[in-house]
Symmetry: none
Subunit: 382 residues, 4 copies
């Protein structure tokens, strides 16, 4: 079999990319529309030498990948809305304990069980704010399989670089859509491997003492070093502390290691922005319809452009501002009640020129939907 | 003992107010710093004819109050950070099924288990966006016991009026601080009782068909009417539907019943705003320090005012705008990395004049902390 | 029968008002949706001592009222789209010859025969620019029967004051809607009567020599004075001239007598404009739906206002600017592809804040239509 | 006689170009200053195998060319002001029934019969808005014979491409001015021929069902297909319909086929615009005087440019904006009370920098007229 060019579902592409990135452990509990990910990994991961476990529930799945990651394996789980909510408490643990891991959320419609097979992008804000307490978060997404492959690998790379959970926020259309994928050669996409401590066995290893470059070397848990891991505020040895200076320092570390590297983790696609008078901003599958509209209007001479976001959090406010602050209007295209638009408005001097083209009924937003709303927001009526 | 005037902890005040509002059922799992609430209710609630259950975990507690509420009882649970995260999935169910209930979150410090006995206001954004999918949310808070009593009753009133879960977002200082409380006379604060259907037994009851005024009459579950309750998108009978029009209509109902009544659910305290040149905005215990600063500066002739928010969500943007758009500067005082400030900036034409006075180390923010930051944001240097 | 309070169709109200204003002559050719006007006048006008003629076609009808007006009678015709187009050449004659008359156009849908019984407001621009050559025009409209009565009388008053044809631009919904009308007492609305020359018989009467106040006294044609009336450029005796100075003077007279009196002929209704942040602008029947939206939103605390135009031409740009230049957004509500919005955009400094809520399918625009578009133009999505 | 280079009146040039374009039918009623067109065609058209009919009036002429076009012949009529007004109703029919045809309006002065031999450009707005109901319109013009030839051919090309009436809006000076014309070789200007359906006889031909590229193939009326043509709103078979979706779809088709192809039908001449600080905008014969001024000033080093519009409708707002938004001032040169200036003001961010140089007395505007006004609008006084 020639593995170079495949015709896959998005969920399958995500699996191929995770394997490419060096996935060593997956734990999950099947939930539509993400079920193809565990289904395929149950077969593929052992073939590649990794471990696959189907867990008893969503919470256990999240806890399992945190534990596995600490032992030294790149780890991932996959879920959808209700499972993502259930995982929030353990995600907070991964944030606090600084455990690299990747959580795939293939979004479905609505709150609660909602529309299991309907498309939605309603978990954008939750992917930033879903767990309690102050923290920062990285969330990536993609609209096509080639980008999805790259962003999945990037999710692992960022999680290892910054010792943080990373959310890969897909949607039902991207997850189930079949499209051509060319698998990159080994080495074509650089991989960030686990940074292990150079401290030999003994007591000199400080699991939460950053190196000069800010990174925290790890030691495979259960290995040569004994150290503490906790969800409580802790010092450089991992022991709990209520000392305000230590608490403040830890909070700044958790937040700044991400908010201080926005440009390093920002991934965008730009279409026709150079001379655009009006700009669409979109992400995930809705960006496909947005791109269709832009290409169609360009053919007619309209100066319309598209800014596609592949990094949702930390929100690339400076990049959005640089590309859109001067244009006449911005139309954010997303399948929810308006979530990314909240950040776009904050990024621009004139929030009143930012409009929303959306659906939130479980149906994919089409170019026609966008065109109709674009007419209205340009004051052209129905 | 004359019960009219008491000297209580905030958590105890919350209990007294819940009983005043007609609490009929409480389920919970103790967690610092909210544990006094179940502790006291375990004794007080049966005395008043209500039911108290200590559940096996946080999720079960949330599910229990949803079920109890459906049978006709005003229901409540109490928790803190990690428990609040665990409850998010079931909160989404209460949103979707439109079940009135009150969730008290007495915030502690940090993500994960963090600082169990340290103060924080880090769950503001989570209380809006913690569960998956598009939805709206009501979140109330208070800085003193008299307001805490009133806001607790209001939480029940709003939950019954709009058939929605309501978050009562307290913090460790408010929860544990002792202060005088004058219990209102019966009837002094109007109570909103459960709106029950006037449809006699039979099949004519439509659990999700709004009346002309938008309200949804309920029927005690297990009583004369048989009907369906689900977390899936559903029609007016409560049966699951993937019809896009029905899904869209339900989403708008869930969102508009709250976002369309912002002014009706907005509660504020205003101090010296009429002629203020500079305004502090705060809430919860940090508003106590903010008020101290304002009173102190007024005595010196400075035109400083305080806007204290008791409604955090839906965010009272119009009210904030009306009071602060024209002033020279706004200083948001909160104990987190800056959460309410995100909304204040969106509400005002010039976000650059909004500053943050905060702590996030588990220590209470003092008037001195605020004064030092106020000097700096007024360009007066250290 | 007590004639004071009636329950009438709009077309019937127009008839009552024309009789109140002193209508002496009507010529017309029935065309839906204006046919009730000739039908009722055929009976009522002779009862009041006036003359009614059903003509052989639309052009003849227009020519007849020009001739009748010259003999001293207040004259009117009524038509709809295709008839209005056919009348344009003779309307130009009335402009050039400065003949007072009133043309009622009860608009129907679409170009050509279009939708004879569907509603539309598609003739707004045509009522200004439908005839060839430079000129000015007065066009009035109304959304309710009491205003329709007043505007019909005002149409006669303006036509007599400025010796100009006046268009009364109604729409199918206003024309056919039944509503209460209280007939004003005689004298309650002042009437402008024909200004007749004080020159006795002989040759000293100059039909096109303005008085000091700019008005042109008339002499009943066929009476004591012989004078010339022509569609050609002419001098003060009415004789043709190609002298550039005379041509220029006549053009300025035709234009300035109207464009120089914009405020005198401007009629508006204002609803909740004092503190409005966002303003709807509408006219005719669509203003009824707009008002419904505004009252509904005001009840919910939104600062929405309505500016209803009863004078469409000369466009009251200064009045619109005064009321709307400072607001956040303006939504023009009309049943066409966007016609009045073109003028509103010209009147304001920031045309990008002007949006269109419209229908153009022959169906009445409802409050729900407007609300849905208002959401989108406020950036709130669907 | 070598026909390649001729010395002709503009009206004669128009005739030569119509024949070049493949004119097959002309119907008209002579009216100054367009009479040379029917006069010459009465002789020339039969020579070329076409049909010429002098009709009994203006309306009949317009109706005749609509009917002839439906049978498969490229058709044209010519008129001036009063005739153009009379034709408006039948022009609306051609719009609604989507019948290709060309209407030449050689403008004269004033409203009504006005100044039959005086020059004017007073019908610009009427050529857009003269018929009732929402619609779009194409109007072309030219200032010299070579352009007039090209624009006449383009009028036929556009009318066939988009199945729409096209107005060729000339003025008395262009119509009567003699100038050199080099007739292009056959094929030098590409011709758009009638797009006929490929459907064989039978009932499968849908006269109003657009092809994938948006164009509507025609079938010669009276030929192998029976189908309905109406001025009423109609479905894809041409049968009347009041279905709102069909009505809306038809309206959008009539409007978008033109408004959606603005750049494709925009024709401009640009003179010295690259570095211009101040720009004149003009069209038709007045552009000749404007060009004289510009060339004269350039010789003196002034950065003055000229944008000559050959497409008046759909108004090339983007093109005007691109060339003029950044300049210091714009002076619109036209012979009317200010018509094109209304559109120029709408196209630019700062309408206050747009000025008018005009005459409206039947006399040709000269370079001296323009220069005097230019001084004043540049603040240089008289």
């Amino acid at each position: 079999m020639n593995k170079k060019t495949l015709f896959l579902q998005g969920n399958e592409t995500c699996v191929e990319a995770a394997l490419y990135a060096g996935l060593g452990f997956f734990a999950g509990y099947p939930i539509t529309p993400s079920s193809e990910i565990p289904e395929l990994l149950a077969r593929r991961l052992p073939q590649e030498g990794g471990k696959f476990i189907q867990m008893e529930d969503e919470i256990a799945s999240m806890c399992a990948i945190v534990g596995a990651s600490l032992t030294g394996l790149k780890s991932m789980t996959a879920t959808s809305g209700p499972g993502f909510s259930l995982k929030q408490e353990a995600i907070g643990y991964a944030i606090m304990a600084e455990v690299p891991c990747v959580i795939v959320n293939v979004q479905r419609g609505g709150p609660s069980t909602g529309l299991p097979t309907g498309v939605s992008q309603g978990d954008v804000m939750q992917s930033r704010w879903g767990t309690h307490g102050d923290h920062a978060m990285v969330t990536l997404t993609a609209s096509n399989h080639q980008d999805l492959f790259a962003m999945t690998v990037e999710a692992f790379n960022i999680s290892e670089t910054y010792r943080t959970p990373v959310i890969l926020l897909l949607d039902e259309v991207v997850g189930h859509m079949r499209e051509k994928l060319v698998i990159p050669e080994a080495g074509e996409i650089p991989l960030v491997e686990r940074l292990r401590t150079s401290v030999e066995g003994g007591t000199d290893y400080h699991p939460y003492l950053p190196r000069e470059d800010g990174r925290l070397p790890m030691s495979d848990f259960g290995g040569v070093h004994r150290y503490n891991v906790t969800g409580l505020m802790h010092d450089m040895w991992g022991f709990p502390s209520t000392n305000p200076k230590i608490a403040h320092g830890l909070m700044r570390q958790l937040i700044d290691k991400i908010e201080g590297h926005v440009s390093a983790v920002t991934h965008l696609n730009e279409f026709f922005l150079d001379d655009a008078d009006n700009v669409l901003i979109s992400y995930g599958s809705s960006a496909r319809s947005a791109l269709h509209v832009v290409e169609n209007r360009r053919a007619r001479g309209e100066r319309l452009g598209l800014l596609e976001l592949k990094t949702l959090w930390p929100f690339p406010a400076d990049a959005v501002r640089e590309r859109c602050n001067h244009v006449k209007s911005v139309l954010v295209v997303e399948m929810n009640m308006g979530q990314v638009i909240l950040e776009v408005k904050k990024a621009l001097d004139d929030p009143d020129k930012v409009f929303l083209a959306n659906r939130m009924d479980g149906v994919f937003i089409t170019p026609t939907d966008i065109r109709n709303i674009l007419r209205l927001t340009q004051g052209k009526g129905v």
